[in-house]
């Protein structure tokens, strides 16, 4: 059974947050249509691609946009905008992650669309939100990471902020947008009414920094880098394994976990060691403790350590890079990655939808669309554009 069967979503957006939202809705059965253009192609179509002239070889794009359809419309043209409106009229949801003024410039903002379709649900996902002094500022995942305070605490103890340089905040925004769209869909099912949702990635990100906000509010303290240390737990950290740059993470928050660690590593003498008798003393002697544990872990591979320690009841998980995650037994069993052949990449793998719903599971049904792959289907079959009209629009680069 597909949860979102019969629903149609149209996406105006590129790169990450908007596309991730649309694709996830498609994972659960919605028909999600990307409106894009050769005039300004989605940069993700080229990211990490081996061919910078081909918009269909991007590996990032393949995971992020599976299950979606693509229609090309150059929205700088009035006729394209009119067609976009015709498409929106037969959709349930509009998702957009453009800079805040763009949809309005195109005449596709909520007040206009609502008049045309009163029960429309529209979600805008932007870095800073639709209003406020920074609404027009450039926002990328890492800039939001710095704006929100997260970067200020990423680093080694006593060291400078190093930051997160990858797009984490974009997914944070997508999660908020997904929650919002589904909430709105449920409400529409009950009341017949649509609505508009303004999601700010920065604000959503700050809702995920609860402790740090409260520590400033209550005590005037701003969080600083503390590496992998924990204020009350020891051992708690990363330990080197046999091969270079391989690691295991271990945390012992309960005395029984510490006992299990001592026994499983063959070090019962640690249990009598006055430096390690309770978590407070272990914290005070953390460096020595970490050195001792590291000497043990260095004799094993990460998966071996995990198995030995988890069997004994010690929380321990390896550091995974993507190849390690791909080969991991649990990941294989659970299908974290799926084979999804693509016309430009027959051996392609994509990262699966990570949620497991028992009755309405996610399904990876089709590969990420080639640029404009479904233009004819969307415009002719769905919007009623005739064959002649379609050809004219292609020639005049309105469908482009």
């Amino acid at each position: 059974m597909r949860a979102l069967e019969g629903l149609r979503v149209v996406l105006f957006g590129t790169i990450w947050a908007g596309p991730a939202t649309a694709a996830t809705l498609a994972d659960f059965g919605a028909e999600a249509i990307r409106v894009e253009s050769r005039a300004y192609p989605d940069p993700f179509r080229y990211l990490m691609s081996q061919d910078r002239t081909n918009p269909d070889k991007g590996p990032f794009f393949q995971t992020l946009n599976r299950n979606t359809l693509s229609v090309t419309l150059d929205l700088s043209r009035q006729e394209a905008r009119d067609l976009a409106k015709r498409l929106i009229k037969i959709c349930d949801v509009v998702v957009e992650n453009q800079s805040p003024k763009v949809m309005k410039q195109w005449g596709l903002d909520y007040p206009v669309l609502k008049e045309m379709k009163p029960d429309l649900i529209m979600a805008s996902v932007s870095g800073y939100g639709q209003t406020g002094p920074l609404a027009q500022d450039i926002a990328l995942g890492p800039t939001l990471s710095s704006f929100s305070g997260l970067d200020s605490m990423v680093g080694y103890p006593g060291g400078p902020p190093l930051g997160i340089h990858r797009a984490y905040f974009d997914m944070v925004g997508a999660m908020a947008a997904l929650f919002a769209v589904l909430l709105a869909l449920r409400q529409r099912a009950k009341t017949g009414q649509g609505q508009y949702i303004d999601v700010s990635m920065a604000e959503t990100g700050v809702t995920l920094l609860g402790r740090e906000v409260m520590d400033y509010v209550m005590n005037g303290r701003s969080a600083v880098p503390r590496g992998n240390r924990h204020p009350s737990m020891a051992p708690h950290g990363w330990y080197p394994c046999k091969e270079k740059d391989t690691w295991i993470t271990i945390g012992c928050g309960k005395e029984e976990e510490w006992r299990a660690l001592c026994e499983a590593t063959g070090n019962p003498q640690w249990l009598e060691d006055p430096r390690f008798l309770d978590s407070y003393s272990r914290l005070k002697h953390e460096e020595e403790l970490n050195r001792l544990i590291g000497r043990w872990t260095a004799g094993y591979r990460p998966l071996e350590v995990m198995e030995i320690l988890q069997r004994a009841g010690v929380p321990a998980v390896p550091c995974n890079d993507i190849p390690a995650l791909f080969a991991d037994p649990h990941s294989l069993d659970q299908g974290y990655f799926v084979s999804l052949p693509h016309p430009e990449d027959p051996d392609a793998f994509v990262y699966n939808n990570p949620w497991k719903l028992s009755e309405t599971p996610a399904e990876i049904r089709r590969h990420a669309p080639l640029l404009g792959e479904q233009s004819r289907y969307v415009l002719c079959e769905l919007c009623g554009v005739s064959e002649e009209e379609f050809n004219r629009l292609v020639e005049e680069k309105v469908i482009y």
Binding site: P142, V154, Y168, R211, V213, Y216
Partner: protein
Amino acid sequence: MNRQPLSDLKVVELARGISGPYCAKMLADMGAEVIKAEEPGSGDELRNQGPFPEDIPHPERSGEFLYLNANKLGITLNLRTSTGREIFKELLSRADAFVSSHSVKMLTALGLDYPSVKQINPKMVMTTITPFGHSGPYRDYKAYDLSITAGGAMSYSTGRPDREPISTPGSQGSYYAGISAAAATMVALYAREVKGIGQHVDISQIAAIGLPFALAASVAIRGEAYAQRFGHRLGGVYPYTILPCKDGYYRFCTIEDSMWRRVVEMMGNPEWAEDPRFESSPSRFDHADELDALMAPWLMAHTKEEIHGLCRRYKVPGTPVQTMEEVVKDAHMNAREFFVEIDHPEAGTWKYPGPPGNYSSFRWQVKRPAPRLGEHNEEVFCRRLGRSRQDLADYRRCGVI
């Protein structure tokens, strides 16, 4: 009237810490009745983690607990007693959704695994959040927050290449799992609304955080180097980095050479920038340490705000690295009225983060502060479940609540 979209929903929460409570909070904030069941005596462990005003620990004054559990009703129930379990199942029978972050083993031992819950309430949407999910070879494995971003391929690219990677601070592994779980729960709640079915929403914290970081699956699996860590920089481009300035740090996110030329212009066209080695991004990256040193004098002569003002003018992507103080005081966030004040009878009045989205059809609001331990025992057991005050006293004496 400000009718909240989930005001028709009853939710039961059996969770401690961050992920489960954050997920349930998103439902509570939309108007759902969320009953949070805590163990008598100590309650949710977050009550003891702080932060506390003036660093004085108090189970009713833990900032993070107060934040994550506003808008909820709080009861105590000892699920190790058979009576406690019976009462809990009664709560489940009248609920629409159930959020739990207990382990599979624990839930099964309590008779609260999904098949058992489905028997009690076939239309239940049951969301579980655990490190590895409820099935698979690692389903009984344990993990603290530091392991989530490690296992989920996020931390490998964080930190310096000559040292151990860094788990994402701020408990991001746990928080991100919470918001993912909320979105996943809404898929199920929508399906329940239109198709009348319940189901199990099984969330693995590690699989969830893997999504943003395992995107270039094909590339990495083919063995191409991807997601290496380079400390304060991103690899292969320059300047995509955090650098010190007069009063803190500034982050640049310039990828294209055209952006670099604007940076150079912004800095007053210094002569060193004409060096042909610095023309293209990959080449600049190869000389990144040298460039950091060359840019330093100009950066150290300017504050974060000054640099940001110039970057905005020259359309250079970048932002100050804000401290939490700057975030809470931020003019933009406050213009949008993002932070909210909540008054709590024990903890006092404090500012808290607000909603992760603004909706046109209703106003997000906080209707009640986080519950004191067992605060709503009478309201829930007597007024909703029809127990008498005498029952309540007996439960208390026998350690059921």
